[in-house]
Amino acid sequence: MADPISLKSIAELGALLEAKAISAVELAQAVIARTQAVEGRVHAFNSRDESGALAAAAASDARRAAGQARGPLDGIPVGLKDVIAAAGQPLTASSRMLANFVSPYDATVTARLKEAGAVLWGRLNCDEFAMGSSTENSAFGPTANPWDLARVPGGSSGGSAAALAAGEACATLGSDTGGSIRQPAALCGVVGLKPTYGLVSRYGLIAFASSLDQIGPFARTVEDAATVLGAIAGHDPLDSTSFHAEVPDYRAELKRRTGPWRLGIPKEYFGEGLDPAVGAAVEQAIAYYRAQGCEIKPVSLPHTPYCLDTYYIIATAEASSNLARFDGVRYGHRSKFATDAVDLYFKSRAEGFGAEVKRRIILGTYVLSSGYYDAYYLRAQKVRTLIRQDFLNAYREVDALLTPTSPVPAFKLGEKSDPLALYLCDIYTIGVNLAGLPAVSVPCGFTPGGLPIGLQLIGQPFQEANLLAIAQAYERGHDWVLRRPALD
């Protein structure tokens, strides 16, 4: 059965647009229609701007008619996680705190997507302030996994992954602080790329943990991910942590870079807690690479057991400070019951933030408080050095590391209520953020119950072109990305 138009890849759609077989307006209408058909079950969006999308699509058609099409994204509907600012659009971070906030400015990635001709389509649901691994922490209700509506799509960028899997957008952006792109990509059976820290500007991304956050694409294929990355990557003077990295034509590089590669298998990523079906799928992926002539090397990242603690100290500490600005003064939720300015803070924040956000703010405030800084934050920053060093040591021998993305496939909504149990979902993804490395999750099979499984490939800093080529080498040998959830 042929895919509905909104489930085609950007590459296919680009060819259809180029051949004038479809128009951008028709494509936008198809995406809108598909969304109207499935969104009631999936709930991937916090808000949608249909007239804005249609107007942008009409502008794209006009450009194309005038021979001024801007490249592979011109006319392609792209959804944004609701933590990325777009001028004139709501920006909620899935929080009651920002329920009525409208951004007066564009994030750099938003401006770049507009520049590339993309049709910005909707604000995607996520865990509140990107804190979570299931999208259940959204103030506007959870998103369902299109492969099994009783299960979570992963998180925090669950809406971005689910919308793509359900055909409600042709590509989406998410943000990844500890796995928030890769884990939902794995759980929803799509490609998710977390770029090297500093490759994509964070300007306009609501900060969770500034030293770990990075924006990246969700796409149906590795090639599509390369296309979107090409549009958003590159130095930005508005982000002081942005790197002057070379931005090659990632799509063209995919064709040039053919391997074989040396792949490292970190033994610490295959231990206790790994779902057998996930483990088996990843073992088959390793076998596939070996069969393709890649050298497979066991490696060790000895500080892996400390990643989770290091991550939670650094991420919550930075978050406690980043989220201080949400005080009900200049914008955001303001309590009606405040007696004075100080009381306003206490009540507005208590009413505006959800439980997980409060929990992390408290933890972060505690680890930074007087007398604890050295023991927690400073120590975590030192352990971070060791964790990063582990990766750099491994890269002396290998081009990339291969691991499962998530230890478990999509779990049931409401299944994991203990915070610590949920934090363990991130054990394979957080080390990458601490080390600032690029990593991609690609679909690598299904559980016997039909849930998608993701394979994580971790690359060398700023070597996204290599990383994507390695991922595509796997993708080409399998048809996982062509499978669709049974939503119809």
């Binding site: 600012a85 920006l91 964070r202 306009g204 003077p237 400070s321 005080d327």
Partner: protein, 490 residues
């Protein structure tokens, strides 16, 4: 028991830049509320700071002027606290790695008399760092209004060692520090506009004791005089408490300059815990020798150094140097004029500047630089030379100067037009003197009766008739000669 006061000052100076310290929206004062903001200043979700190179330059320059060590590497920290004027609810500041450490401020204590130089001292500095200013709260009966125009203005915090011992020293310290900042083009330091703000930490201890006493922080000292008065008041208050047998408590007090009283601020619920940590949104600053050398090249001579040089090179008395050096533009004007007159006329130039030029600046509310465009150093030099060569008399200087200020003409042209050039001849002068004596019989009688000062009554009419061309000494001699004739003639 004898006590001594120990005072440390924390001075915040707004740096004069075109844009804010972490975003490129314009910085300024006196604009309509909330017209100097952007998403970064308002701390809208998703915004990020970017350092202002000019603000860094300014702090390094300040450090070089004050002899600080410039840190080879410094970084940014977040100081976390909630307040409605602070958009992010943290202030980007520098905690354990400030840009500048050490250094000192040279001060001059009051001399035994106004025209005598006082003792000089160097007050050591602890550190100077860069941070961002907050917005402004306007309080009303039922609520407060916030204007974020000031938020994000670059602010330099200059912390002294607890090395000051009196209100006078604090006054001298601030005077010198302010002049240094203005000289360096770092800030206008207008305290009324909040461009310089001062908090004082004050304690007292028995003379000979080395441990510091209980420290009281005095806030809201919003003019240099209020700093002096506030500190004097606080020292007196502390002494009174101890002499009464009371004990001092560590607290923050608010000084009201209008009423000359202070009151304790209710301590903010709990002790401060700023949870400082390195700001992950900003990268460190590395200062190399090239950068320092460039800024060193922009450093002006400081007022006290200039004063020593003026005294030495131009042989000027303290009364003149102490007026000339505190305004960089005035000092420059002086030296530009002396360039043209020659060094031996320096004192005449200085006298003219202090007696005429400055008065005019004050009356016209013009800066020395602005007035220096109207009366160029060349015109001033010409005036001094006209007097020196006897082409006009010194008592015509006032009239010629006034003409220069109003018409901007060359002094020679004014003197000619006003008939002030040259001198009167002896015959003309003798006639004016005779007329003056004849017209004032009363004064004549008094003089003849032995009251010598009565002669002055004749001088005015003579000078008036001569329109400034008469030499006062010659007038006096002529009058005495004629009056002596009257005496013998009787």
């Amino acid at each position: 028991m004898n006590y001594e006061a120990v005072i440390g000052l924390e001075v915040h100076v707004q740096i004069r830049t075109r844009t804010k310290v972490f975003s490129r929206v314009a910085a300024g004062y006196g604009q309509p509320p909330n017209t100097l903001t952007d998403p970064v200043v308002l701390a809208l979700p998703g915004t990020l700071p970017v350092m202002n190179k000019a603000a860094l330059d300014a702090v390094i320059k300040a450090g070089l002027l004050l002899g600080c060590e410039i840190a080879p590497v410094c970084k940014w920290d977040r100081k976390n606290y909630f307040y409605p004027d602070s958009p992010k609810n943290y202030q980007i500041s520098q905690y354990d790695q400030p840009i500048c450490a050490g250094g000192s401020v040279e001060i001059e204590l009051p001399g035994p008399a106004r025209n005598v130089m006082g003792e000089h001292q160097r007050i050591p500095l602890t550190r100077i760092h860069l941070e961002e200013d907050v917005g402004k709260l306007n309080h009303f009966a039922a609520d407060s209004l916030v204007d974020y125009n000031r938020a994000g203005t670059p602010l330099m915090e200059i912390v002294s060692e607890p090395a000051l011992h009196s209100a006078e020293e604090a006054f001298a310290y601030l005077t010198s520090l302010r002049a240094t900042m203005v000289y360096g083009g770092i800030s206008d330091c207008d305290m009324e506009k909040g461009q310089l703000r001062c908090d004082a930490n004050i304690s007292i201890r028995p003379v000979g004791e080395t441990k510091l006493g209980t420290k009281v922080e005095l806030k809201n000292l919003n003019s240099i005089s209020f700093v002096r008065d506030g500190i004097a008041h606080e020292i007196k208050r502390q002494l009174a408490v101890l002499e009464r047998g009371g004990t001092l408590v560590q607290e923050t007090r608010d000084y009201d300059g209008q009423t000359g009283t202070s009151q304790s601020l209710r301590s903010k619920e709990m002790a401060h815990d700023y949870r400082y940590f390195p700001d992950p949104d900003l990268m460190p600053v590395k200062v190399d020798e090239t950068w320092k050398a460039r800024l060193r090249g922009e450093c002006p001579e400081l007022p006290f150094d200039k004063q020593r040089r003026f005294a030495d090179r131009y042989q000027l008395p303290y009364t003149l140097t102490s007026v000339l050096v505190w305004d960089r533009e005035l000092a420059d004007y002086f030296e530009a004029t002396v360039q043209l007159t020659g060094r031996e006329k320096a004192q005449a130039v200085a006298n003219w500047i202090v007696n005429y030029f400055l008065r005019e600046c004050g009356e016209k509310r013009l800066t020395a630089a602005a007035l220096g465009v109207v009366i160029t150093p060349a015109h001033a030099a010409e005036l001094i030379q006209l007097v020196d060569s006897g082409q006009i008399l010194s008592n015509a200087v006032a009239t010629v100067s006034a003409g220069m200020f109003s018409t901007h003409e060359k002094p020679q042209a004014i003197a000619a037009r006003e008939g002030l050039a040259g001198r009167t001849d002896a015959g003309e002068l003798e006639q004016w003197c005779r007329d003056a004596i004849a017209a004032n019989a009363k004064a004549l009688a008094e003089f003849l009766a032995g009251k010598d000062s009565a002669i002055n009554a004749f001088k005015g009419p003579v000078m008036k008739a001569a329109k400034g061309r008469a030499d006062p000494k010659q007038v006096d001699a002529t009058l005495r000669r004629l009056l002596a004739g009257q005496q013998t003639g009787r």
